[in-house]
């Protein structure tokens, strides 16, 4: 959904405009001199509507996690842009005001073990944020929350290391929802879990969304996971969003060459599909965000790259059809099949 133009809905809960996060690269003898920037997030516009799930997908170095943390203002300094939450720009918040703001925006971390203080009992883990925000805590609070995430009430007195990975992630979720936030950003919520456990957590997230009316931003590298949970999916590449669309729309007809390549690369556990699927293999590695290519950031690996324009001009995220935008100069032509991939060998059919 094109953030910039989509006005037919109620106000989005979260509205990000022109967000940039650049980490300085410094060197120098006594005085640190900045010699460059890692452009982790470089100009992102994003809207998240209430009660919906936005999926952020991308490979390593795409800036998806930085974007998530930037939105939460979590240890990431914003270089530019605004983050409007519920109509209020929180990009400039600091100190106590930022801290207070946190109760309405929460985060679920990738590694449930690392994100829980091993010295705290489950009870403390859950009540601590409540107390920090002056929310009432009674004898039932912890039990109720544990039940909510599918853990036994008795778990309150135990410690994180006594739980399995899936259960720990449930704890992390319980802690996040304890503050009754409206927005939850889940950063790779299942990637550290065993395959057979991932579905449990995904289902729990969905269930909570329904029961609590949560709005999600789910960040993941696994397209299938994102596809499964999201209403809207934004695909990131090298610090920018290259395509954003309704989940089904995106998967059925991706418009950006990168999205196409990405989706074609995901193996499907079905021999019938695998044997007949066409794959687009991308050349080379993802460039470094410290030194991103000029023009379209994807042009170095793009099979549809066209002379000069792709190299020189950075494409804007454009609405190509309702609720579907992409940042590609030639999206329409590619979709129509007017432009063939330059290197036929890159297209691999496995059967």
């Amino acid at each position: 959904m094109s953030a910039a133009t989509d006005g037919d809905d109620a106000d989005p809960l979260l509205k990000v405009r022109g967000l940039k996060v650049h980490f300085p690269i410094t060197q120098g003898i006594l005085l640190q001199r900045t010699v460059g920037h890692v452009q982790a997030v470089d100009g992102v516009d994003l809207d998240v509507r209430r009660g919906q799930t936005l999926g952020l997908v991308g490979e390593s170095g795409s800036g998806k996690s930085t974007l998530g943390r930037g939105i939460l203002r979590l240890g990431v300094p914003l270089t530019a842009g605004t983050v409007e939450y519920d109509g209020v720009d929180i990009a400039g918040l600091k100190g106590e005001r930022l801290r207070k703001q946190r109760s309405s925006m929460q985060m679920v971390f990738q590694d449930p073990m690392a994100s829980l203080n091993p010295r705290q009992s489950v009870e403390t883990l859950i009540t601590e944020p409540l107390l920090a925000h002056g929310k009432p805590v009674n004898s039932d609070t912890v039990g109720r929350l544990l039940e909510l995430v599918g853990l036994p009430r008795g778990a309150a007195l135990r410690y994180p290391h006594e739980f399995s990975g899936g259960q720990r992630q449930r704890l992390g979720i319980a802690r996040a929802v304890a503050l009754e936030p409206a927005l939850v950003i889940a950063d790779e919520p299942v990637s550290a879990l065993d395959v057979s456990v991932q579905a449990q957590v995904l289902n729990l997230l969905e269930e909570l969304q329904e029961r609590l009316g949560l709005t999600y931003v789910v960040i993941a590298h696994d397209l299938a996971v994102v596809r499964h949970v999201s209403d809207v999916v934004a695909v990131m590449y090298l610090g920018g969003i290259v395509e954003e669309a309704d989940s089904d729309d995106l998967y059925q007809s991706p418009l950006h060459p990168y999205t196409r390549a990405l989706m074609s690369a995901v193996p499907v556990p079905d021999p019938e599909v695998e044997d007949h699927r066409e794959r687009i293999l991308l050349h080379g590695d993802i460039p470094s965000p410290a030194d991103p290519p000029a023009g379209c950031r994807f042009h170095t690996r793009c099979p549809y790259r066209q002379p000069t324009r792709c190299d020189d001009e950075r494409p804007e995220l454009r609405v190509l059809r309702p609720g579907h935008s992409a940042a590609c100069h030639y999206a329409e032509q590619i979709a129509r099949g007017d432009i063939e991939p330059a290197d036929a060998a890159q297209m691999v059919g496995t059967s």
């Binding site: 299938a224 021999p271 599909v273």
Partner: protein, 341 residues
């Protein structure tokens, strides 16, 4: 599948009733037992399972890489008809890297950080092919080219940290294939990589192995990887094989509740949005000991009373709905295929 499976030749590798016991300070732990499978030249076989299922241990046992001091390997591992477990350490070393090679999961840690990659490739050539240093360098450069690293000669001097993850995995593949082994074991070769890179590497593997008659044992937790690559799939749970079948049978009509559960719980890119997932309850930690029960019983939707008191044996049969496909199953109450489909 366009890959020629070839005639049913003699198995290159035959693992029979393999058991691996770790001797730890808290007593012995049987990490793997009753594992049998075989691989023919040119055949691609997958061992699939979650962490702790024993798939990697099985691979290490085949390679002879388990620490001698703290492990006992029982059963039989025959390579080209020879019993590997009867060989001395030296003879096994002679096989490793030459006849059989392995690619590891994490390209970040599997290369020695302080040795140039050229040396790391070259040393295996020097060891097994008796090449001299300069010759080894020459060949190493070519190898890098073959695994898709352009300008290979120049990069021989580089260190692992100067390469991206995908590059490193290519280097590891170059090392593994340097002596044109007849058996290649790939242990989660793409897990640590990004999706687009994963596709590159899988394609590369496919390319390098196909047509050479190299037997491939693919170890992975990712059923998607298996689906497009392997002929035969062995699903492991808690140290034992619970289901073996040709891939079409296995994916089409899984019989073991665990296999079925796995397939049902993974979100698929091609499934419709909102299609509910049916997770397997509990976690792999909940496994029971195989000794008097089915390890999967606590998490099993098809559990019957027998499951918690008796150990199911692995029984081979012809697949119910795919005649001609041999399968093996360790279950008292397998999924009804008609129901599953």
């Amino acid at each position: 599948m366009t890959r020629p499976v070839g005639v049913r030749s003699e198995p290159l590798l035959e693992v029979e009733d393999l058991a691996v016991v770790f001797h730890g300070s808290r007593g012995d732990v049987e990490a793997v037992s009753e594992v049998s499978f075989s691989v023919r030249p040119g055949e691609h076989v997958a061992l699939v399972g979650e962490s702790g299922s024993g798939k990697s241990v099985t691979a290490l046992a085949v390679m002879g890489l388990l620490p001698l001091r703290s492990t006992t390997v029982r059963g039989s591992i025959r390579y080209d008809g020879d019993e590997l477990l009867d060989l001395d350490a030296r003879s096994r070393r002679d096989l490793r890297g030459a006849e059989m090679a392995m690619i590891f999961q994490d390209p970040m840690t599997s290369l020695n950080p302080v040795v140039p990659i050229g040396v790391q490739i070259g040393e295996v050539l020097q060891r097994h092919k008796g090449l001299r240093k300069t010759e080894a360098r020459e060949v190493s450069g070519d190898l890098l080219g073959r695994v898709g690293i352009s300008d290979g000669k120049r990069r021989l001097k580089e260190y692992p940290h100067q390469l991206s993850g995908g590059m490193r995995q290519r280097v590891l593949i170059a090392i593994a294939l340097a002596c044109e082994p007849r058996l290649l074991i790939a242990d989660e070769p793409t897990t640590a990589l990004d999706v687009t890179i994963q596709a590159q590497i899988l394609e590369l593997l496919r390319e390098l192995v196909s047509g050479t008659g190299t037997a491939l044992v693919m170890i992975t937790h990712d059923l998607g990887v298996v689906a497009g690559l392997c002929d035969e799939v062995h699903v492991m749970y808690s140290g034992r094989v619970v289901e073996s079948a040709p891939r079409r049978s296995l994916f089409g009509e899984p019989r073991h509740p665990y296999t079925g559960g796995l397939l049902g719980s993974i979100p698929r890119l091609d499934s419709a949005r909102g299609e509910p997932l049916t997770p397997i309850p509990g976690s792999p930690n909940d496994a029971l000991p195989w000794t008097h029960s089915c390890a999967f019983a606590p998490r099993c939707g098809n559990r019957v009373d027998k499951c918690t008191v008796q150990t199911p044996a692995l029984r081979g049969s012809e697949h119910v709905s795919r005649p001609g496909d041999e399968q093996a199953l360790r279950c008292f109450n397998p999924l009804d295929t008609r129901e599953a489909s």
